[in-house]
Symmetry: C2
Subunit: 337 residues, 2 copies
């Protein structure tokens, strides 16, 4: 097995670098071997956080010096320009130079997207990179994309998101024949905005995945459309972002209400299955799909478990050759040929 090198932005999250270091420690303990973690950031801070994990396998950890940190509130492009030695730029730079295989950050999402596109570049044929968000459902998790990278999209871009999602579903989620739906306001061919109607028309000629047609908002939480398990739902980044944030917030409101009204019930083992569909930490991070490489974006509020799971996803993405497979898919032209 080839060694897989995961660069982790140690300065990204709201609780950096403690959470990142704990996530790395969990990953090294729980996940199969074959990978190393490159902690990118300010060495003294990272060393300080590592002191809390004396049992950690230091042979599998490398500290990479990056003195600057991009703040959550900073404007992405300006921040990247003024801080070329930020943990985001240094971490992605490692991958660009061939010294790393994947990058993970819980930092400024806009800056991670911009730097990923800038340094790794898009695969030829990919019009826009998209954020894929894995949503828990009543059945299997569904990949929703774009979850916020692109707010104004044309029909061909929506088709591209469907293709990107299908490759991810095959390589990372282990679904050999992915079922892909287009998010719309109704199932019928004539439903939707002009852009979505055109995308539906184009997707009907799709190969490489099963296009199940238009799906509605209601089909996402059930994880099914027309009796078939759904793997990927394509939409523009505006509606995807709204749905993702809406879901996360509704889940939080619900757990808070349960805690308030029925504190004893939350402790019961049967709650596990109920809370599973409310627990985002399980899924860890959202991949930025379409770039030449692997870049995974986590919530600023990610707990260590989410960082660990993002590392798991990154390892899976690298070992399944996700980026190469996306390159092949788009080089062939896919649906848009």
């Amino acid at each position: 097995m080839t060694l897989i090198r995961i660069a982790l932005d140690a300065m990204g999250s709201d609780n950096a670098p403690q959470v990142e270091v704990e996530g790395a420690a969990l990953a090294l303990q729980d996940l199969p071997p074959g990978f190393r973690v490159q902690l990118v950031g300010r060495p003294p801070a990272i060393e300080g956080a590592l002191a809390a994990f004396p049992g950690i396998d230091r042979a599998r950890i490398e500290i990479v010096d990056a003195p600057d940190v991009v703040g959550m509130g900073e404007k992405p492009l300006a921040a990247l320009r003024s801080k070329p030695r930020s943990s985001i730029m240094v971490g992605l730079g490692l991958q660009k130079e061939g010294h790393s295989d994947a990058f993970i950050s819980a930092g400024n999402t806009g800056a991670v997207m911009a730097a990923s596109t800038l340094l790794l570049r898009l695969h030829p044929g990919v019009q826009r990179a998209a954020i894929g968000a894995l949503l828990p459902t009543a059945t299997q998790p569904v990949l929703l994309l774009d979850a916020g990278a692109n707010v104004d999209c044309d029909a061909r871009e929506l088709v591209g998101f469907a293709q990107l999602g299908a490759v991810y579903a095959r390589d990372v989620l282990g679904r050999p024949q992915p079922v892909v739906g287009l998010l719309n306001v109704g199932e019928e061919d004539e439903k939707g905005s002009g852009v979505v109607k055109e995308a539906h028309h184009l997707l009907r000629g799709a190969t490489g995945f099963h296009y199940v047609g238009n799906v509605e908002g209601r089909d996402v939480p059930t994880g099914e459309a027309r009796g078939r398990p759904l793997d990927v739902v394509a939409c523009d980044g505006f509606v995807g972002n709204v749905v993702l944030k809406f879901y996360e917030s509704a889940a939080k409101v619900f757990v808070k209400l349960l805690k308030q009204e029925l504190p004893d019930v939350l402790q019961r083992p049967e709650m596990g299955n109920v809370l599973r569909i409310l627990d985002y930490a399980t899924y860890g991070g959202a991949p930025l799909l379409g770039v030449q490489g692997v870049s995974i974006i986590c919530h600023g509020s990610s707990p260590a478990k989410a960082i660990k799971n993002a590392i798991r996803v990154a390892v899976q993405a690298v070992s399944s050759h996700l980026s190469q497979d996306i390159g092949v898919e788009f080089a062939q032209g896919g649906v848009t040929a």
Copy 2:
């Protein structure tokens, strides 16, 4: 108190006319007096359903003959043209002729929207009628509009939805100083699609309500934005429809999971507060705002309780002069002047 006449499409829902008749019976029993119900549909079917409610006050019920029924799957305009004596056309015709004050239907949504616009017409200055959906939140219900009437919207139309929602919040929800947000992917001025950015700019000059600025998907379930209780959220009908259907479905999935895993817990009285945010029947119906008159659209699967609540909303809309107030708001030009 003037008499208020509510025309109820008795043939609309999946369980018509039983559910409609039961809803009317509940309304006559539970709601304050001062209104009558006009049951519009096939008299023998309506009489048959009424037989189950021998105690109902027949003096407050009128049966209006409409021999045709528009099916759920029919194309709206074609159905209205070929069935001029459908319960939808007859019920709205009563209002147009001054023989009724409001119309309620759980039938084909597209047909109800088209017939409402056709027969009642829009108020001068209103560009598009919008469906307002009342969403349960952790705090007070929030009116989301447009919830599906218009999939492609320009900035001025979004501003119009904000205005329509604000009048509804004042008149029907009893919120004298409504707080209105624009659904977007971030709070900052520069966030969003071109159309939404322009709408945000226009709304900053709004009068007649407090424009709180861009709100995100996460602010809807909490019912708050920047520490203020939120009354109205404006968006295009594509994203509104997706969010509404997503929420309804997520709520159903959650209740189903709770039933399956913790059947005893659902029986506990404390669950009331938890289920409240999942129970759509409480809110009853979605008003079509912007027409000259009152038209309320219910789910095809509405239970009797939802029909009763739609009647309550219709009575409130008529007695608060909602339609007249919308007319005044738009005659003055409002934000778009």
